[in-house]
């Protein structure tokens, strides 16, 4: 079980209160009408699946119902930090 720090409730909560929502920091193409099919397809469908440090979007579903980001190691399950939407992680986002 994860013990996840909700940056909105400002305390640790049990994993069962949360839902993962996939990869974080997905940038929507600036001009969807004029981007390539590949760019649009990447945005809609293709996700990283790293072994190691990953930035994820989670929601505190049973608590405050706010979304936030989690930096997590997919191999060791260690959570490095959680931070609000719009903030940048202290561990760099790798391409």
């Amino acid at each position: 079980m994860f013990h996840i720090y909700c940056p909105h409730c400002e305390e640790y909560r049990e994993e069962e209160e949360f839902h993962p929502k996939g990869e974080a920091h997905l940038a929507r193409p600036e001009d969807p009408d004029n981007c390539t099919d590949e760019e649009w397809g990447d945005y809609l469908f293709f996700r990283k699946n790293p072994r190691g440090v990953h930035h994820e979007l989670w929601v505190h579903a049973a608590g405050c119902r706010k979304f936030f980001n989690v930096t997590r190691d997919t191999q060791s399950y260690r959570i490095y930090e959680t931070y609000k939407i719009g903030e940048q992680p202290s561990k760099a986002i790798t391409a």
């Binding site: 909105h8 409730c9 400002e10 305390e11 909560r13 049990e14 069962e16 209160e17 049973a62 608590g63 405050c64 119902r65 706010k66």
Partner: protein, 205 residues
């Protein structure tokens, strides 16, 4: 003071004409009370519920809330009370106001008259019900029901948390050393009530 904008539909849910209504709570079909000795539980009478969304950093909003409900915007994971009104923190921009059902409409109109900035207020009276647990063994029922740590140091009097309850969700607040309240969604009230009856049974012998 400003006028209530026409774009917002504000409706008094209690009809002013015809036969007076006899309101029924979501658990009207149950005994609505139980327990013995060290543990008692009961459903609170029908309560007015206003769901309030707004910006806590907006001073005008915070002042209008305080003037209307008699209590300031509650801080993270806490609730404040003034006479018959409770104001519960649910999220950084959401609070629930519990009040007598016949005051819900008047309070809503008052807040809209005091503040016309960016906020939302919905009268959700009847959408939730309040189940109160009391007695020294009340905490034992919660330990079986929610994953949240209910130790005195972690869940002091005056705290409110939204969490998982059994296989559903609930808002739980601590009113006193041995007094707790569960706010259950109407459609899950029966499930939570029967869960509480079952969980409480071993402490009533």
């Amino acid at each position: 003071m400003s006028e209530v904008p026409d774009s917002v539909a504000v409706i008094d849910q209690i009809p002013q004409q015809g036969e007076p209504l006899t309101p029924r709570t979501p658990l009207h079909h149950t005994a609505r009370a139980g327990g013995a000795g060290q543990l008692h539980y009961r459903e609170h009478d029908l309560t007015g519920l206003l769901v309030l969304r707004g910006n806590a950093a907006d001073k005008a909003f915070a002042e209008a809330v305080k003037a209307t409900f008699g209590c300031p915007l509650a801080k993270t994971l806490s609730f404040v009370m003034a006479q018959e009104v409770s104001l519960l923190w649910l999220s950084p921009d959401e609070w629930w106001v519990l009040c007598p059902p016949d005051q819900a409409y008047a309070l809503e109109v008052q807040l809209r008259e005091r503040y016309s900035g960016h906020f939302a207020l919905a009268n959700n009276t009847g959408g939730m019900t309040r189940i109160q647990l009391s007695g020294p063994q009340a905490v034992q029922v919660l330990k079986k029901s929610i994953p949240y740590d209910v130790h005195d140091a972690h869940f002091p009097v005056g705290k409110v948390v939204a969490t998982v309850f059994g296989k559903t969700q609930a808002v739980v607040r601590r009113l006193g050393q041995n007094d707790w309240e569960i706010l259950a969604r109407r459609s899950f009230a029966d499930y939570i009530w029967r869960w509480v009856e079952d969980a409480a049974s071993e402490y009533q012998r």
